[in-house]
Symmetry: C2
Subunit: 329 residues, 2 copies
């Protein structure tokens, strides 16, 4: 594989080369991993996209929002990439169609690129691949990268570690309930968007927006927030209303963070975080070989039956692992 050539074509923004490069970083094969590292290392380092994390539970209109918002940006001449991070996804590479169908116009737009979540059962694997796909899109010269995730649990935290700005999309709620949004997710969000502020739901959206404005005021102030942030806003992805305002807010927030040094500081911290995660995950990946799993099962059974203490079994396992590593190298 000619990595230099692939890197060049990715840097020129060729979508087919980008798709191929993402497939490469998603591969678990050791030789592919080496190629992926070389590829990532040879991308242009001077390009920065606006990386937007986007979360919201199924049914709040995430796909419609991405389609409308993405089309608006594309109409302004911006290049937009959409990536999904969903560790629970069982979608294979062949079902890209699924995502493209959800975002029919955007998937056909020149200047847009849509890629579904890599299929993987554990978050760690999805996280690294997604972070590298973000880097590839950035190297390919995209202006805006939307990183979409489902609003369930830890994947938000992971996406926040690869995003410059985090949006939380919510549906209008009845009464004064706050939809059980986890405090942790509220604390990650820079802007909460109340979607479906149209038709019969407009009044409810106004109330929900006011509720969240109040709730956000109770959160601890973060250093990276200008006055008035985090904030809640209303949009209608269906009627394409309020999208310009969202873009204006994102631009203003970006500008403020860049001017005040938080933009670079956050990116530096994120890079350091991913470095340390990769070190940890690689060390633990030794436990996933067939031989290691086999040995873990055998010693685990002896520990479970009381024939061996956990400490003695762990020591025996680690000694064997070290010896088998030594004999390999």
């Amino acid at each position: 594989m000619d990595i230099g050539d692939l890197a060049e074509r990715v840097a020129q923004g060729e979508r087919r080369a980008l798709a191929r490069a993402i497939t490469l970083v998603e591969s678990a094969r050791p030789d592919h991993r080496d190629h992926a590292a070389a590829l990532l290392d040879s991308l242009p380092k001077d390009r920065q996209a606006l990386r937007i994390g986007l979360s919201g539970t199924p049914g709040v209109g995430k796909s419609t929002f991405i389609e409308s918002f993405g089309m608006m940006l594309v109409a302004q001449g911006l290049k937009v990439a959409v990536l999904a991070v969903d560790p629970s996804s069982t979608r294979s590479g062949g079902s890209i169609l699924g995502d493209k169908t959800r975002m029919d116009r955007l998937s056909r737009a020149k200047g847009a690129f849509i890629r579904p979540s890599p299929s993987q059962t554990h978050l760690g694997g999805v996280a690294r691949r997604s972070r590298e796909a973000v880097a590839l899109c950035e190297g390919a010269g995209f202006d805006v990268i939307l990183i979409e995730t489902v609003g369930v649990g830890q994947s938000e935290t992971v996406v926040a570690q690869m995003a410059d700005i985090f949006l939380l999309l919510l549906a209008p709620a009845g009464g004064d309930e706050l939809q059980g949004v986890k405090r942790g997710i509220m604390e990650i969000a820079d802007i909460i968007l109340i979607n479906k502020a149209d038709g019969d739901l407009r009044a409810a959206a106004t109330r929900t927006c006011a509720d969240y404005t109040g709730a956000l005021r109770l959160l601890r102030k973060r250093p990276q927030d200008p006055p008035g942030y985090p904030k809640a806003m209303m949009v209608s992805a269906l009627q394409e209303a309020g999208l310009n305002d969202v873009w204006a807010e994102l631009s203003a927030l970006t500008e403020w963070r860049k001017t005040n040094g938080f933009w670079d500081a956050t990116r530096s911290e994120q890079a350091r975080y991913w470095f340390e995660q990769e070190v940890r995950n690689t060390l633990l990946s030794q436990l996933e070989s067939t031989a290691a799993r086999h040995m873990l099962a055998i010693l685990g059974a002896q520990v479970a039956s009381g024939d061996m203490t956990p400490s003695v079994a762990a020591e025996r396992f680690l000694t064997d692992l070290k010896n088998s590593n030594a004999s390999k190298s």
Copy 2:
């Protein structure tokens, strides 16, 4: 160090030998770790204590409960050990006095043994040491081991992995609020004890107990629960009321689980869990040497400044680590 002699004296229930053995398993020195593993391996394997996990936020009367409940057990001729698991604790070995003062009578009782939390900043370290201290107390012939933790976050999950039965201690609440007890902790508890069911708080305790009885009914049924479990009960640790009932319930639950095979199955699963945790923690502990921290800091700075990608830096770090391990062995 004569480990055979120490093991023998621990097995005879000598409290000074037990204290010394716990200090040994709490040590991070490699030679101490080897001694600790040998010690744990040479303890009598046929002794089983009733290991009771106990959680409750500060102010619910945990120390008073342990004191009263422990004294009741000691009066019945049972040997009682009390261990604390508190990863946030900055207490050093010298402040055992703190715990002993909290439990004045119990600390002076013959047949009781009290040990505070090992001082350590991360839960993983505290967890392993505490689990090994539990094994030492069991090997020393204690009948009941109370493993106390504060009601904040992950430490409950860790204590549940070393306990046969888990108690959650709560104070009477006003109205129908459920005191913001996390669902995860509710799901761990076998028995919820509403303490302070005395004086002015008796009526509130009755209401709170009814509320929790209702809330527990909504939880998913676990296979290891006999009919009517998990349950909520009232006690007054101060007036020493209801303690006999708690003991009767614990004994009945123990009996049921032993008869129905859940007791042994849980212990087997726990041992397997600790084995795998120890393997993982040992692999990751390579990152904690001075040399490794130094290299992580240097490479981390290069990643943060954008001079190196996280993947390339991780690979460089891991190659260096492997070489330094190889040159050591």
